[in-house]
Amino acid sequence: MLVIHCPYCGPRPELEFRHCGQAHIARPLDPSAQTADEWGEYLYLRENPKGMHAERWRHMHGCGRFFNALRDTTTDFFVTTYKCGEPRPAVSGTAPAGGQR
């Protein structure tokens, strides 16, 4: 069970959260203008990196807010979490041992 730093509530147990897939996928403003390939990618194509992953979580059983996180999928350590609408922080390399403080 991970510890996840909710940007609103601070570090909380994973049980309170729900993973919501890749972050920063904006719904097209005009879906009808999307080609079949573009729409197919929006619906289904997701990053699956072995390494740093920008993903969404929701503090489902806490404050209820969606937020984003950078997590290293090779260690499951988070680097940071940030609110929706904020840009992906520039982070390179891997998550530090022991995880987010």
Partner: protein, 1001 residues
């Protein structure tokens, strides 16, 4: 009753004043309070405790602790409380304990399975992959049952376990695993300045290896006194939690560690109400691993005979339990630490026949001590074999020349052989934490390398030798852990007086004449894996240690290789001629020791397995004989049978009551979401396929929700309470996921919208009054509110009072009849229900359940999401295309509805089916074909989604999804069943009141 013939006169930590009676294989014995089953058996001179897995060789105790591979027993409290595969070394003795040996027939002394020992050449590693293949079915029918019967160890429990199990979450600044000298020193240092510390140890008594050190002095006091004082200090600190009989068995991400506390297993009569065991899930800011080290056996022919055991085990049995493991002992030493066993046994009056050191040059201190004690020491020897069957009677030692020839062969009589190949640090938890192990060349063992989690190791588990170093390392680790957790620590220095020997040895197999791997030189005792098996696996091309492990099963027994993995690695590296770390290392997996399933289940059993959610009228339904159905977590009334009625009779009656008069239904489980804000209509418009801008205040609309993929996700009636306020209903099961989906779009896609969501599912109790008499029933209850068709037409709503209860009254129908759904605050739900019920009695009002609700709506062709739809159905497929506001530029799912496959011909469409034979009720889920009596595989065109007997129509009806179904109206299709195909006509999916007139009365 037998005597404790092998007990010392004094000493040990047992309570000699208290006798304990127990039985082993039906034979009565006595031991003392403080004994383990193993120590008590040894005290009675019993070495033979088990039979091996494959060859059924007689086996005795190898170890005194958690690593014991041989002495697996079943402990039986009663018929339901049978626990197989327990290590006798970990079973605390209690009055009346009943233990049985395993894997033998007819008895432990005479086991016919031992014929396998003679036939062992036929059963090399992996033999089963090479045979039992002909004839083809013989494996499953003939050979496999035999193999299975032979495999397995103990007999499993067969009755429901009556015991209970507990769970607990905990947090601490510092978790210290292991209460040996390093762990206690760590806990003392970490807790001195206020950090919260949790210290756990798998043993009943704290102290670890100190309990086996009668001669040590710590800070000028006997170790036992230092231990006692230290524990008293810890107990006196409010910030310290001590957990004995508690195994830390798992190290999970982000410093969560799992502990297994055993609460009653050691009690003769377990305390009532106390759980048998408890699972702790501990989140520690910092961790100190002080898990010690485990001695390695030596691998030589006959190293498995009863009476051959680890030197450390002999020390533990002597020092902790006052038991002498033999009277004439040979010690085969691969490290200096082993010598202490000989010294202490000799001091207890045991004759040491020889110390046979496999090294040419033992450590000077222990060597000198042995000589001065008058013990004969041979150096540079190897063991050629042992004698004895049910107990070791002798050992053959020799020197090997460089060419592999035998010199100085000699055979010594003895009744116990002690062995030590050095110690292996217990790095299981460190490895589970994903820390990388480092191979220490000097010590020939793996030790913790860089940490990944916030932990540090101290003491023997990181290869530290010597009590003083161990104590000081523990103290430092405790201090650094407290500081890392943001608190202060207090490191101490220690001084120690003790004759010690190094724990460093060399893993592998003792050399044999001609360098041929001997048979019956066991590496993995429990799985009967010999060095010869390892050699065979390598000959067959299995080079990776993981392959060798899997092919030979080395290290896969219930001890998970605690005594075998390093020797296997030593052998493999020697055979391959590579350095040991190059041979690789198998993975350490959770759990450290076997852990009872029950603690993982914890309180999740029976009615508490999952929440049982009753509706506000549950008590009324129970009192009125409802049969319930699980829908998600809810208990819903399925039907209300009267005396003598089965479900069909009850449902027929309930249906007719609604069609002809009036029925009462609890719809409270429907999900409800209040959508409020200036942009509420805009929001719903973007989400739902329908148009909500045009919905007037006080009106209701049936809404359909698709996901972005265009498939139906949920549906429900949406009422506009005010310009900026909607009451959205969802399916019962869909409520949480619809709210989640709404929040997702609102928070992440459209944060600019001024609209907010609140779940009101449980705020409202929903009482559906349905049937032609519905208005007459409720009219007298609503304080003069005009509920006429003109004032409150179908799909409208109004606020009012039901008696003295505020209500939201919705004119909606899921039955096709005149209908109202009375929403009242849930706390008034049962009272409101009873009010309506009393008013309805005059009209023969009938309560009905979900089954009748299903029939009634099917007669009208109303779909149920999850039954007519299955996640692959579009609104148009389900006959709901009319609801889709095609003029809207966008809504969630709109773009996908234009995808090729979603507009292609041949999509399954909702239709009605009427069987040619009106009494025949199709089976839900039955498949549909255009052509009867086809060969397999048949061409199928759809399936039956709902099917019932309709009482009002006097015949069966069905809904179905059929490819291009709407083009097949009037045609006959076939439902292939085992007894032959059933013919049915495709019709429109509305069977009753097709014009909908009854809705508008």
């Amino acid at each position: 009753m037998s005597q404790n013939t092998c007990r010392t006169a004094a000493g040990g930590r047992i309570d000699r004043s208290r006798l304990v009676n127990f039985t082993f294989d039906g034979k009565a014995f006595t031991g003392h309070v403080g004994d383990t089953l193993a120590s008590a058996l040894l005290a009675n001179g019993v070495h033979l405790v088990g039979r091996s897995f494959k060859y059924h060789r007689p086996r005795g105790l190898l170890a005194a602790g958690v690593e014991e591979p041989n002495a697996l027993v079943a402990v039986v409290r009663d018929t339901a409380r049978r626990t197989p595969n327990l290590r006798a070394t970990q079973v605390e003795l209690y009055e009346g304990l009943v233990a049985e040996s395993q894997n033998r027939w007819p008895s432990l002394q005479f086991d016919v399975g031992a014929v396998n020992d003679l036939l062992s050449p036929l059963f090399p590693a992996g033999f089963y992959y090479k045979t039992f293949m002909w004839p083809r079915k013989a494996w499953h029918q003939v050979f496999e049952p035999v193999v299975r019967e032979a495999a397995g160890l103990g007999k499993p429990p067969t009755e429901p376990d009556p015991d209970t199990y507990a769970q607990r979450f905990a947090h601490c600044d510092v978790l210290v695993v292991g209460a040996g000298p390093a762990g206690i020193a760590a806990a003392l240092a970490a807790s001195a300045k206020g950090a919260s510390v949790l210290l756990c140890d798998e043993q009943p008594e704290f102290g670890g290896s100190l309990l086996d050190e009668p001669n040590a002095q710590v800070n000028d006091h006997p170790a036992a006194e230092w231990l006692k004082a230290s524990l008293a200090t810890l107990r006196g600190r409010a910030n310290v939690t001590l957990l004995s009989r508690t195994t830390c068995f798992g190290y999970f991400a982000h410093n969560m560690l799992s502990l297994n506390e055993r609460l009653t297993e050691h009690q003769a009569t377990p305390m009532t109400g106390v759980p048998r065991e408890r699972l702790w899930q501990v989140r520690a800011k910092e961790v100190v691993l002080a898990t010690g080290a485990i001695e390695r056996p030596l691998v030589f022919p006959g190293n498995d005979r009863p009476g051959v055991m680890l030197a450390s085990a002999a020390r533990t049995f002597l020092n902790r339990y006052g038991v002498k493991v033999g009277s004439r002992v040979v010690l085969v030493a691969g490290c200096d630490a082993a010598y202490l066993a000989a010294f202490e046994l000799r001091a207890a009056g045991v004759k040491i026949e020889r110390i046979a050191d496999i090294r040419p040059a033992p450590g000077e201190a222990v060597h000198a001590a042995a000589l001065s004690a008058g013990i004969a020491v041979s150096t540079g020897v190897t063991v050629l074999g042992t004698f004895g069957w049910l107990r070791v009677t002798g050992i053959t030692l020799a020197h090997l020349a460089d060419d592999g020839s035998v010199q100085d062969r000699e055979t010594l009589d003895c009744d116990a052989v002690l062995m030590s190949g050095g110690y292996t640090p217990t790095v299981h938890l460190f490895s589970q934490s994903r820390g990388k192990l480092r191979f220490d060349e000097a010590q020939q063992v793996f030790v913790p390398g860089n940490s990944v989690e916030r932990e540090r190791s101290a003491g023997a588990c990181c290869g530290t030798d010597g009590l003083r170093a161990t104590l000081e390392e523990g103290s430092q680790a405790g201090t650094s852990a407290a500081e890392a957790a943001g608190k202060a620590g207090s490191a101490e220095g220690y001084h120690v007086q003790l004759l010690e020997g190094s724990m460093v040895g060399t893993p592998g197999v003792l050399p044999q004449p001609g360098n041929i791997p001997p048979s019956k030189a066991f590496v993995d005792f429990q799985n009967d894996v010999t060095s010869k098996d390892l050699a065979l696996a390598m000959r067959e091309g299995f080079e990776s240690v993981e392959h060798i492990k899997r092919y030979t099963t080395n290290g896969m027994a219930t001890d998970q290789g605690k005594t075998s993995n390093m020797n296997s690695l030593g052998f493999v590296s020697a055979e391959k001629g590579v350095a040991l770390p190059k041979a690789g290392l198998t993975t350490f997996r959770m759990p450290y020791t076997p852990i009872t399933f029950g603690i993982f289940a914890g309180y999740d059993r029976g009615d508490l397995f999952d929440p049982v959610r009753p509706t506000p009228t549950h008590a009324w339904a129970v009192a009125n004989g409802a049969v319930f159905e699980d829908v998600g977590l809810w208990k819903r009334s399925r039907y209300f049978p009267r005396a003598g009625e089965n479900m069909h009779a009850a449902v027929d009656r309930e249906c007719l009551a609604v069609r002809n008069s009036v029925g009462l239904f609890d719809a409270s489980t429907l999900g409800k979401i209040e959508v409020v804000g200036p942009d509420a209509a805009t929001f719903l418009n973007r989400l739902y396929v329908n148009n909500f801008n045009t919905l007037a205040e006080g009106k209701c609309r049936y809404g359909i929700l698709t996901r972005e993929d265009g498939f139906v996700y949920d549906d429900g009636v949406i009422a506009r309470l005010a310009e900026d306020r909607f009451h959205v209903t969802t399916t019962t099961g869909g409520a949480p996921r619809v709210l989640h989906m709404m929040e997702d779009y609102l928070q992440t896609e459209w944060p600019d919208l001024q609209v907010w969501l609140t779940s009101t599912t449980e705020q409202w109790s929903v009482i559906a009054v349905q049937g032609p008499k519905a208005r007459e029933v409720i009219a007298p209850l609503v304080n003069g509110l005009d509920v006429s068709n003109a004032a409150l037409p179908h799909m409208s709503m109004v606020r009012g009072m039901l008696g003295d209860i505020p209500m939201l009254l919705m004119r909606v129908s899921f039955t096709g009849e005149l209908g109202y759904e009375i929403n009242v605050p849930a706390g008034h739900g049962q009272r409101a229900w009873e009010m309506v019920w009393a008013a309805g009695l005059a009209y023969g009002m009938t309560p009905y359940g979900t089954e009748t609700m299903h029939v009634l709506r099917a007669e009208k062709g109303y779909v149920i999401v999850g039954q007519e739809t299955d996640g692959t159905v579009t609104p148009d497929d389900a006959g709901l295309g009319w609801a889709v506001a095609k003029s809207k530029p966008d809504f969630v799912g709109k773009r996908s509805l234009a995808r090729p496959a979603l507009v292609a011909k041949g999509r399954k469409q909702l239709v009605g089916l009427l069987t040619a034979e009106p009494k025949t009720v199709l089976e839900e889920g039955a498949q549909i074909a255009a052509v009867p009596e086809q060969p397999v595989p048949m061409k199928l065109i759809g399936h039956v989604t709902s099917s019932y007997h309709s009482a009002v129509l006097g015949r069966s009806i069905a809904l179905a999804l059929v490819a291009d179904g709407r083009a097949l109206m009037g045609q006959t299709v076939y439902i292939p069943m085992p007894g032959g195909a059933i013919a049915a006509q495709v019709v429109a999916p509305v069977f009753y009141d097709t014009e909908g007139a009854k809705l508008h009365v």
